[in-house]
């Protein structure tokens, strides 16, 4: 299934004159780059007929920083810092994607302690990311209280990160060959307390927003994403799983310590905005299950198998590594000439970039407000689209 996407020039042509005094005339508006929905700087050119969206064209590029080009001048360790700045809501998973690819390329073997710590941290971050997405969705739907509730939980998870990692947003924690710092002594007890706190809170989210008839009306049957279309457009993560395709790298190609944990992949049936919503709510619960199972089995051992000062030697060739972030599959392709301290070419396959373009297939025919609902259910993080 192919989707015809018009170019910006085509879209910005002045609309045809109305045929008679009674017929309506289409017009276009710029949604963004400064707009509450853009969640950063993303521009949509929307062609409207009254309240109905006829065409939605994303125009990315407002926060492009050339991260991939910068990687060519950095060492493998330094690349980790930039991966934080892409999808900052799953910064640890960005770190991990770089580390995983570099470790695979350089042939670094890790111990169980490192794998389990990485998995726990990544899953906590997934909960944090989904909590924030839930909060922002509430805001986009007009429920401002949800926004504050989500931020409350985000802070609490952030404090756990801060204690071990020292940072709250751009973590720079997972390094090639280990993790930057060992976990703090009280870490396990604190995370257990956090889990027992978060479980009822997620139920509370259900009572505040999920069960609300207005939210259901706004999300159900809105923007149905066909699984075939989703696959052909390269959607991954909750967006794809909501359409009924159970593609989750944690299950399909287990990495880290995911093989040790027992969890379900949340899958939707219809692919509408509601499925995308509820898949994420379920994922929060599953992530807590994973963390709970892994917490007691953290073995002793060093948190780094390789000293940070050691230069990583990657042989000549092209390497690819991928993992599941909160938003889908993040892949990294590295090309090494076998001589330098860093890659000669790096390319990220970011989940948000592919998920973004679905909007131009889903939104036409729906109202302005539905465009917002669909966008919000796609959970886009703009700096990762632009990189």
């Amino acid at each position: 299934m192919a989707v015809k996407v018009k170019t910006l020039e085509e879209l910005l042509k002045p609309p045809a004159e109305a045929a008679s005094a009674l017929s309506t005339q289409e017009y276009y508006v710029n949604m963004g780059p400064q707009h509450p929905i853009s969640h950063g700087s993303l521009r949509f050119v929307v062609r409207l007929d009254g309240e109905t969206a006829k065409e939605v064209m994303p125009v990315p590029g407002y926060v492009h920083r050339g991260i991939e080009k910068m990687c060519e001048h950095l060492s493998y360790r330094q690349m980790v810092h930039l991966s934080d700045r892409m999808d900052y809501f799953s910064a640890l998973m960005g770190n991990w994607a770089v580390s995983k690819t570099v470790e695979h390329a350089a042939g670094i073997e890790l111990n169980d302690r490192i794998e389990i710590i990485r998995t726990i941290m990544a899953e906590l971050q997934r909960v944090q990311s989904h909590v924030l997405w839930w909060a922002v969705l509430g805001m986009d739907m007009g429920a401002a209280t949800a926004f504050l509730y989500g931020f409350r939980e985000r802070e609490i998870i952030g404090e756990i990160f801060e204690e071990t990692i020292g940072a709250r947003l751009t973590m720079n924690y997972i390094q090639p060959g280990g993790v930057m710092y060992d976990i703090q002594p009280g870490f396990v007890a604190k995370v257990k307390k956090l889990i027992s706190y978060l479980r009822p809170v997620i139920d509370e989210y259900d009572t505040l927003l999920s069960g609300n008839v207005i939210l259901q009306e706004r999300l159900r049957n809105v923007g149905v994403l066909d699984p075939k279309l989703a696959l052909s457009m390269g959607c991954t993560g909750p967006v794809l799983r909501a359409s009924g395709v159970p593609l989750d790298l944690r299950k399909v190609q287990p990495y880290g310590a995911y093989a040790k944990a027992d969890f379900n992949v949340a899958v939707g049936s219809k692919g509408d905005s509601w499925d995308r919503y509820y898949v994420r709510v379920q994922e929060m619960r599953e992530s807590l299950r994973i963390v709970e199972q892994l917490l007691d089995g953290i073995p002793e051992g060093p948190h780094m198998v390789m000293k940070p000062a050691v230069r990583i030697k990657v042989p000549e060739g092209m390497f690819y590594g991928q993992l599941e972030t909160s938003r889908g599959i993040l892949g990294l392709t590295l090309v090494s000439d076998g001589k330098g301290a860093g890659p000669i070419r790096a390319h990220f396959r970011s989940p948000n970039y592919n998920n973004l373009w679905v909007i131009s297939a889903l939104a036409p025919g729906w109202r302005v407000a539905d465009t917002i609902a669909i966008l919000s259910s796609l959970d886009l993080v703009i700096p990762e689209i632009d990189r």
Partner: protein, 373 residues
């Protein structure tokens, strides 16, 4: 029995002067014209002051209530518990630059906020605050209130139209469609009470509730009408879940996107005062206005209730309804524009008509609690 209740209450609360401010002014006309002028000036200044204080109090209340709903404290810095925060904001808004967008319809753009505000002010004049305090009592009070509050949408439409901004225009059009639709249901709900009370005068309606408030005295239809009125009027004043004309996340601010400074705050103040008007109308028509809560036969209880001054009863009821409306806002998401229309035309309107029909049957058969005279 009812007479005795009323007389005790009159004695405890003090005999009231059953004259409105306008009547006092016209009486004074025969004696001294300057006294009339003084009455008019006093009324104007008094209501202006009252409106300002009310606006400040409501904005403060909204922020505090929102804060506590959202697990935070709300304003805390300016004055004890932040009570002067709104004043500080007013000063800020006064100092802000008044921006008129390029190619906006200048005259309309300047006029719009005053239209929105003016409509609200006109309604506030007829509300009976207490037996002693009412500016004007019109014999067509209910009709006047519905007509004038519909006039407020002119300000919103003009503001959105003249801003030369597509988002503003969308917001204004939504607002126009929404208010025209929901006005019908709100009026149908008010008609139920008018049928029972047999008068359109707001003072007359309050006095007709001496034996019991219409919300429960009118066998079932009262409560249905009250709920319809609450929903429809929440939509009329653009509050969540019906705040689609502002639709912050969709329209960046809706009809007031291009407004800044004091002109923006006029729209804002009008919204809050409209909330007061809705609360006052609901209290007057359904909850007995300034009438205290009385139970037939419970002399002691009624006497205790009568000790509370009527103005406290009135404001208590009004603020309760305002609190409910704020509660809506900080709980519900926003409806979509077509769902909003469906709710009105397919749900509220049929129920409203059936309810009005049932009410007229009840009135004809004299079938309600305490039919009295």
């Amino acid at each position: 029995m009812h007479e005795s209740v009323v007389t005790t209450w009159m004695m405890t609360a003090g005999a009231w002067q059953a004259k409105t401010w306008a009547e006092l002014a016209s009486d004074a006309l025969s004696q001294n014209i300057w006294l009339t002028v003084a009455y008019i000036a006093g009324g104007l200044i008094g209501s202006m002051t009252a409106v300002t204080i009310l606006g400040l109090a409501l904005i403060y209340a909204e922020r505090k209530i929102a804060g506590h709903f959202q697990c935070r404290l709300g304003p805390m810095r300016v004055g004890p518990h932040g009570i002067f925060q709104t004043l500080a904001d007013v000063v800020k808004l006064l100092m802000k630059e008044d921006i008129i967008p390029d190619r906006a319809d200048k005259a309309m753009h300047l006029l719009a906020p005053f239209l929105a505000m003016g409509a609200t002010m006109l309604v506030i004049a007829v509300i009976p605050y207490s037996p002693l305090l009412q500016l004007v009592d019109l014999n067509i009070g209910v009709l006047y209130v519905t007509a004038i509050s519909g006039f407020g949408v002119m300000g919103i439409l003009l503001g959105g139209w003249s801003s030369n901004n597509k988002w503003s225009l969308l917001g204004a059009m939504r607002s126009g469609a929404q208010i025209i639709s929901y006005e019908v249901s709100a009026t149908l709900a008010l008609m139920v009470v008018v049928l029972f009370a047999g008068t359109l005068s707001l003072r007359g309606i309050v006095e007709s509730q001496m034996d019991g408030w219409w919300i429960w005295r009118a066998h079932g239809v009262g409560i249905v009408a009250f709920i319809i009125y609450l929903i429809a009027s929440t939509a009329e004043i653009n509050r969540t879940p019906f705040d689609i004309p502002e639709g912050e996340s969709e329209l960046t601010g809706g009809f007031h996107t291009e407004y800044s400074g004091m002109r923006f705050s006029f729209f804002f103040l009008a919204e809050f005062l409209n909330m007061f008007v809705v609360g006052a109308m609901a209290a007057t028509l359904f909850l007995g206005g300034w009438m205290p809560f009385h139970l037939g036969g419970w002399e002691g209880f009624n006497n205790v209730m009568g000790l509370i001054p009527p103005i406290v009863w009135f404001y208590g009821k009004v603020f309760f309804i305002i609190f409910v409306i704020m509660w809506f806002r900080w709980t519900f998401p926003r409806l979509r524009v077509d769902q909003l229309m469906r709710l009105e035309w397919k749900v509220l309107l049929p129920i409203g008509f059936v309810n009005l029909l049932a009410a007229s049957v009840l009135v004809l058969t004299n079938l309600y609690f305490f039919p009295g005279n």
